[in-house]
């Protein structure tokens, strides 16, 4: 095939000669606006936004519910960071004379059964929950995408085995996985993260599979196979981008569920160990006294609810914002 190689090299030489002219054109037109041959003046996208992330965030901000979600999530992150260096009261400053105190100037949301400041514990709890939610989502995302890839593989042995495996494993409840893990590991943050990662990862794979399968059997994948793309390249350039909106929605729902799971598992005694601040911990220690001191249960409950709603709404808005088909602004980046 050597003679043919030479033949195509001359072709590419020609192409590169043409391309030098082309690139000069491009260089000369770099500025605030690019004048097209047709005479139309296009606003340079650089003036408004530099990357996709900015455009996506702006698209989310433009919707009312998106604004709500962004504010709540930003507040969550900010409070978590602040709690690392400052809380109104020390977490360990207990006051035996003022247990179950009402809200006051010293204790903004009152005190709990040991006389510790509820507001400070909730602030510190934010970082534990954020840590759990992020790691659970990362773990679930990695596992889910890996399994999704296996389920739509062109290797029929791999895809058949993984479909059956996912369908079988998905029947095990996340809480049961956590209870099993707690036997050797005891109550710990890792139990929640691993259990949620496995449970939500399996769910993610199952839910993203139809979208991924549609892409895998599509003409554009057939086309890319015909020009020599590998399975990995097809996964990266075609299947994943097409399944991404579904994956993002599912992951943000999973983040919300992870916050709920933290509360639930901590209440069961297999989640966050005592002494580690978390919203579930604040709930679990006060829930027995809900008839006597309803306020101490209300605060953590309210925070968990608002955060979970914000995450669910965020997933919904994010879905529309990251899809270039539904978000025309993204096409201009």
């Amino acid at each position: 095939m050597t003679s043919k190689d030479e033949c195509s090299t001359t072709d590419t030489n020609q192409a590169s000669r043409e391309s030098t002219n082309m690139s000069q054109d491009i260089v000369s037109s770099v500025g605030n606006s690019v004048i097209q041959p047709s005479g139309k003046v296009f606003k340079s996208t650089k003036a408004r936004s530099s990357n996709k992330l900015t455009v996506v965030l702006r698209s989310i901000w433009q919707r009312g519910e998106g604004k709500f979600a962004l504010i709540v999530l930003a507040l969550w992150v900010a409070v978590s960071l602040v709690s690392l260096v400052w809380t109104p009261q020390s977490l360990w400053a207990t006051d035996g004379y003022h247990v179950w105190a009402k809200p006051s100037a010293a204790h903004w949301l009152g005190t709990d059964g040991t006389g510790a400041d509820v507001f400070s514990w909730l602030m510190a709890g934010a970082r534990t929950n954020l840590f759990i939610a992020i790691l659970a989502v990362v773990f679930a995302g990695a596992l889910g995408i890996l399994l999704m890839g296996a389920m739509v593989s062109r290797n029929s042995a791999l895809s058949n085995v993984s479909v059956v495996a996912v369908d079988a494993l998905i029947s095990i409840p996340t809480a049961l996985i956590a209870l099993i893990l707690a036997v050797p590991m005891g109550a710990s943050v890792a139990v929640i993260i691993i259990a949620c990662g496995i449970g939500y990862g399996l769910n993610l794979a199952r839910i993203a599979r139809p979208q991924a399968l549609l892409a895998a059997n599509s003409d554009y994948v057939a086309s890319s196979l015909s020009y020599g793309a590998s399975g990995f390249s097809v996964m990266l350039h075609h299947i994943l981008p097409n399944a991404m909106p579904t994956i993002m929605v599912q992951l943000s729902l999973s983040a919300g569920t992870a916050v709920l799971a933290e509360s639930g598992l901590t209440y069961l005694g297999v989640g966050v160990p005592s002494g580690v601040p978390s919203w579930g911990h604040s709930l679990a220690t006060s829930v027995k006294f809900i008839n006597v001191y309803p306020l101490t249960v209300l605060w953590p409950g309210l925070i968990v609810t608002v955060v979970v709603v914000a995450l669910n709404v965020f997933g919904d808005v994010l879905r529309d914002a990251i899809d270039p088909v539904t978000n025309p602004e993204l096409r201009e980046v």
């Binding site: 391309s19 003409d219 554009y220 086309s223 196979l225 981008p241």
Partner: protein
């Protein structure tokens, strides 16, 4: 690149789909393959890429240049695909990834087969877009923003960007209206001739065939029933089935003329 198909047979689940097919494409030649739906045209094109379904039984030989495709190693096939053999597909709307900008899709084969930096690749994409008659802003557009004809031009750009030596066009005009069909065929023919590549043009449309090819094969029920010079074959078909096909095409053309005269 020349193609030599000898005694090709393909069967899936004991059903013979293609049998005893002999087909030759010379270097720089444009050859047609025509037949009704289900006659096995696409199976032959898939065999040339080594992309037949895994449960297919294949016999015979397919030589691309001096490489045997049947039973070849996957790495050999992967280096041939795109680099030496390019494909244009039937349905341009579904052959493009809806969530990837057009420029990126044209760039992918270049990324796979050549070691070029990003600026060089983008310049080549822009040059290729110009060659297929699209302006360079098209690179940032998404498939849904293009018309069917423009989408097929992108398909052609994707197939030709790596300057392959053989183009397999599998019904590239079927999904287009008749004016766009003509433009796309003319574009494809001129680009293939300019590059000195060979082409296998698969279709069921005789008017497109006459425009695109010099020689052609008629396929029926998985077998070649007639072959020869395209114009001879269209004017004077020998085989009964070919006569039927040509006759039907003529009637349709006359019908179309009568409709437009009214």
């Amino acid at each position: 690149m020349s193609v030599e198909v000898k005694q090709l047979g393909v069967s899936i689940a004991d059903k013979r789909i293609v049998q005893n097919v002999d087909l030759h494409i010379g270097d720089g030649e444009r050859v047609g393959l025509i037949g009704s739906s289900g006659s096995g045209k696409s199976m032959i094109s898939k065999a040339m890429f080594g992309l037949l379904p895994t449960n297919a039984q294949i016999s015979g030989s397919v030589m691309l240049g001096d490489t045997q495709i049947i039973g070849a190693d996957e790495t050999v096939l992967a280096s041939l695909r795109g680099r030496y053999v390019g494909a244009v597909f039937q349905n341009p709307a579904s052959s493009l990834n809806p969530v990837l900008a057009v420029g990126k899709q044209i760039e992918l084969p270049l990324k796979l087969h050549y070691d070029l930096d990003k600026a060089d690749r983008q310049a080549r994409v822009a040059a290729m877009l110009e060659k297929v008659g699209l302006d360079e802003t098209t690179a940032q557009k998404y498939p849904s923003e293009l018309s069917g004809g423009q989408q097929q031009r992108v398909g052609i750009a994707t197939a030709l960007i790596t300057s392959p030596r053989l183009i397999i066009a599998d019904e590239p005009t079927t999904a287009l209206d008749s004016i766009t069909q003509r433009q796309i065929v003319d574009l494809l023919v001129s680009l293939v001739d300019k590059a000195g590549a060979s082409m296998l043009f698969i279709t069921h449309d005789f008017s497109v065939l006459a425009r695109a090819t010099t020689r052609c094969y008629v396929l029926d029920n998985g077998q070649i029933i007639e072959f020869g010079d395209t114009s001879d074959l269209l004017n004077n078909p020998q085989n009964g089935q070919t006569k039927k096909l040509v006759g039907a095409a003529r009637e349709l053309t006359l019908q179309r003329k009568r409709d437009s005269d009214d």
